[in-house]
């Protein structure tokens, strides 16, 4: 039997600067602030973090292997379960990839429905982030307000797709069924409520002295380092790099919509937090325009019941709430893909965690992890 390589042991400094010993503590996988099942080993010198090892894979379901055995309509259900806070955005990337490979034209109405639902899902996802980020720091109230508003979005999703989270609503070449008749009215009244809700939380939290003290200047990433690590989404834009797939490579109908991409300056946790508040407001503007531009029409192009894309490779990506979510699809011309690689933004955003943690207090560990806004379903796949 071949000899197994020795397990790596965490490095420990026996004698640190104070003549003491580093203490290794275990955080997670059942820790409430890890937003799922994420485990960190932290080396502490009194209260300072001197080293960190992260462990992922507790939620590994072998999704990418599963994709290879399922037909495309079944894969949509699996994509719902990758980033389980922004399900519509995930579905969109998959159907975009398959449509690109089959060179399908999607009807305008379907595109608008997709954009509206994706942007509402972005608001829902950012509301979860704002609520849980405050919760990580011990502020309970904002999470109640954000979850109250998110509930209204989910009720609209339920009226549209029949499910609150696992929708299975987008189809290759369109959407499953047309939206309900009073959809524009419902969305418009919802947007008003969301605007008020976001303002309320913003007023409650963003500029509070304790909140700013705990987030300003914590875990600073400069733009170049952020690009080196491959960060995307709000984590990258907080560092001052203007990169948004919706603007740089417009997909769907984003080129017909007018919106701003907020950019941060400091690249610290407060910027990463506040950028998401601003992005949620921009999403409201996008949805307003899309609702106005949406016209009646078909919602589905003619596609065979079992989609069979031709032989070839395709790369599709879109701006998810967490960053640049991409799919690399290799098809052999069959009912299932030969290979379907997912580029999860959460996974890439998690990578600089060790560098960010070192030198900060242990109480800031949850704040730093929370500001990266990871979803473990997507990290582990």
């Amino acid at each position: 039997m071949p000899e197994l390589p020795a397990q790596p042991t965490p490095p420990t400094r026996i004698d640190n600067d104070h003549g003491g010993t580093d203490m290794w503590i275990n955080m997670g996988p059942q820790h409430p602030a890890t937003h799922g099942v994420f485990r960190m080993e932290l080396a502490l010198d009194s209260e300072l973090i001197v080293d960190a090892i992260s462990h992922i894979g507790y939620l590994h379901r072998g999704s990418e292997r599963l994709f290879e055995n399922e037909i495309y309509s079944q894969i949509i259900t699996l994509f719902d379960r990758l980033d389980y806070v922004s399900n519509f955005n995930n579905e969109l990337v998959l159907v975009m990839a398959v449509e690109k490979l089959m060179s399908l034209e999607v009807p305008d109405r379907a595109e608008y429905i997709r954009v509206i639902l994706c942007e509402l899902n972005r608001i829902a996802s950012h509301l979860v982030f704002i609520g849980t980020f405050a919760l990580d720091m011990g502020a309970l109230t904002p999470s109640l307000y954000t979850f109250r508003d998110r509930e209204k979005i989910l009720a609209l999703f339920e009226a549209t797709s029949g499910a609150r989270m696992m929708h299975n609503y987008f189809r290759v070449g369109g959407v499953k069924q047309d939206v309900v008749d009073d959809f524009p009215q419902r969305v418009n009244s919802l947007l008003g409520e969301l605007e008020r809700g976001i303002d309320e939380v913003d007023q409650l939290l963003s500029h509070g002295e304790v909140f700013v003290e705990r987030t300003r200047g914590i875990a600073v990433i400069d733009g170049e380092t952020a690009l080196d690590w491959g960060l995307t989404g709000a984590c990258l834009r907080a560092s001052g790099v203007a990169y948004d797939v919706r603007v740089d490579e417009p997909y769907s109908v984003y080129d017909r919509l007018d919106f701003a991409v907020p950019i941060g300056t400091a690249g610290d946790t407060w910027d990463r937090y506040y950028l998401r508040v601003l992005e949620a407001r921009q999403s409201i503007i996008i949805v307003r325009q899309a609702i106005q531009q949406m016209e009646p029409g078909p919602i589905q192009t003619k596609v065979r019941a079992i989609a069979r894309p031709p032989k070839g490779e395709v790369y599709a990506h879109a701006e998810n709430p967490r960053g640049d979510f991409a799919v690399y699809l290799v098809s052999e011309g069959g009912e299932s893909p030969y290979r379907l690689k997912v580029r999860p933004p959460s996974f890439c955003n998690l990578m600089p965690l060790r560098d960010l943690l070192i030198g900060h207090y242990v109480a800031d560990a949850v704040v730093i992890l929370g500001s990266l806004d990871i979803v473990l379903g997507e990290v582990d796949r």
């Binding site: 309509s73 259900t77 509930e151 339920e158 009226a159 549209t160 029949g162 696992m166 499953k176 019941a305």
Partner: protein
Amino acid sequence: MLNSVKALRVSLSTMMRRKVTAEYPKEHLPLQDRFMGFPALTWDEARDEPFCTGCMVCIRYCPTQCMSAQMTDNTKFADGDSHRKKIVETFEINLGRCILCGICVDVCNFDAIEMSFEHERSERLRDANRVDLPTLLDMGKAYQEESGWKQSKPNAPSPKEKEVIAAAKAAEEAPELKPEAHPASGSPDPPEDAPEDAPEGTDADNRAKKEGETP
């Protein structure tokens, strides 16, 4: 001082808000019309049998393989009461495995399976959510009643109805044409002047179709 006044104002303005939560087991939030609960099998009132023929198409497309079914010969077809040659004999869904994706509903050709409003199925035993055909049909009946469900296309005529139609046609042609050319069990081809004349036979045909439409 000013801050306390501000705080008091916020407290007073939020105090009178309506509550948004519901104490779950006691209160239930309303379900939307399109809500997708667990799948259930629908019941054909007109024929007094399930719509499902056990064709297994939903089972082949199910992403989690949570269903199984068996098909059998329909005795009602032999008796001439139903147009379904085959009918479902056993059907089992492991609702604990079902992911509520609705693919089975999309692929079904017979309106036989629908996502019901049923969603509260916490049980003590691991196998308690393996539901069989009678339970699925009960769930389906409850769903049909609650939602005012309609089948998408009317039933095809059963052998007995076909006979009635053919007889009606024969009777209608009898005074004008040679009656011996169209016996009672005669050809299904309708004569061109049938809709204009609209005799009693066609009425019976219409009634049968209407019953099929609104079970």
